[in-house]
Symmetry: C2
Subunit: 204 residues, 2 copies
Amino acid sequence: MAVPRLSVYLRCLEDLPPGVDRISSDDLAELAGVSPAKLRKDLSYLGSYGVRGVGYRTEHLRYQIRRELGLTKEWPLVIVGMGNLGRALAHYEGFRQQGFRVVGVFDSDPDKVGDRVDGLVIEPVGALAPAVWERGARLAVIATPPEAAQAVAEALAAAGVTSILNFASTLLRVPEHVHVRRVDFSTELQVLAFYLHQAAAPAG
Amino acid sequence: MAVPRLSVYLRCLEDLPPGVDRISSDDLAELAGVSPAKLRKDLSYLGSYGVRGVGYRTEHLRYQIRRELGLTKEWPLVIVGMGNLGRALAHYEGFRQQGFRVVGVFDSDPDKVGDRVDGLVIEPVGALAPAVWERGARLAVIATPPEAAQAVAEALAAAGVTSILNFASTLLRVPEHVHVRRVDFSTELQVLAFYLHQAAAPAG
DNA sequence: CCTTGTGAAGTGGTTCACAGCT
DNA sequence: AGCTGTGAACCACTTCACAAGG
């Protein structure tokens, strides 16, 4: 099943005006930008939580999606790399709201170590493994320069991290059981450039 | 065709050690993390740029991918929203390297307007439309809070922007001809949480 | 002989359309 | 009567396997 779509549905439900306590697949699909049939297939995978002739109870559906995504617990995470991006991520309110808690921020630069970012003290990357282990983080964000990312990923994996969100442009080599999602700004822009280019010269 | 994969191949080619002037589909596929057959299909779409029995000439292939993605020109872009993330993006070196040039940075906060970010002066969002128009930007990055994103997107579209990279968590409503790519940190983390959750309770 | 390029076969995901419930 | 849940049909993408060509 396409997990990212569940996340989109969840956001749509959370952005609904307060009074709305039920919604049809047509309306929710419209909001989420997918076809009604696809939405119903996706939701039916969670179980039969709709009511025929009526629609979906928004509160109930929200809970079921959060449960499916594993958002009913709080997941501790660490952020490695306290450059501009790392700091932006550390400050990001959305994390806590969605059930993620930043339990450590790290950098290799001795000048940065000891600084405070959003209430946390920046620790040296050497302290990464024991900190991850002790604080039970199995989720990590890599926001280092590309050269450093692979070594960080290996340290994280060795310390028990099984899910990595990678903002470095490198493709990481990790053990089989570790999941990596890569967010690459250059790739995103290049895809958009492709469309601009296409629009400018449709025939080739 | 899957455009993001071309971007990945391009990066792999660019990360190759200097001496390497040819590469086989097996080796490049390994680096890119795809199957050799898929890589060959993808590349054959660009034309017959490989040499049977030998492989691909790295320099030539790099150029062909860049040409296909529209990276042989330089694309002016604007960034709206100079919070932590917007600033991080404005400082990001990768943009210029890959053929993107930031020609304007904007914020709605009067306290921020006039500050310098990476050599550019922050302008008020009211100045967005004429600036986009005059500087020929058809590509924009939205890094505003979610509440502001829709209005910014509409202003951008009206001013001639046809490709938007959206970091706000909102789903944007835009005219048919405008392409939007959404990067949502919460969604990425939620997908990773799903895998953690699965690993913890495989049977449900 | 080695590696690409590509039809053919296979796979997974999307849409259709209607039966089944409320 | 209305809307969900879902098998069946459909479509796009992936892999296979081998012919074509340096």
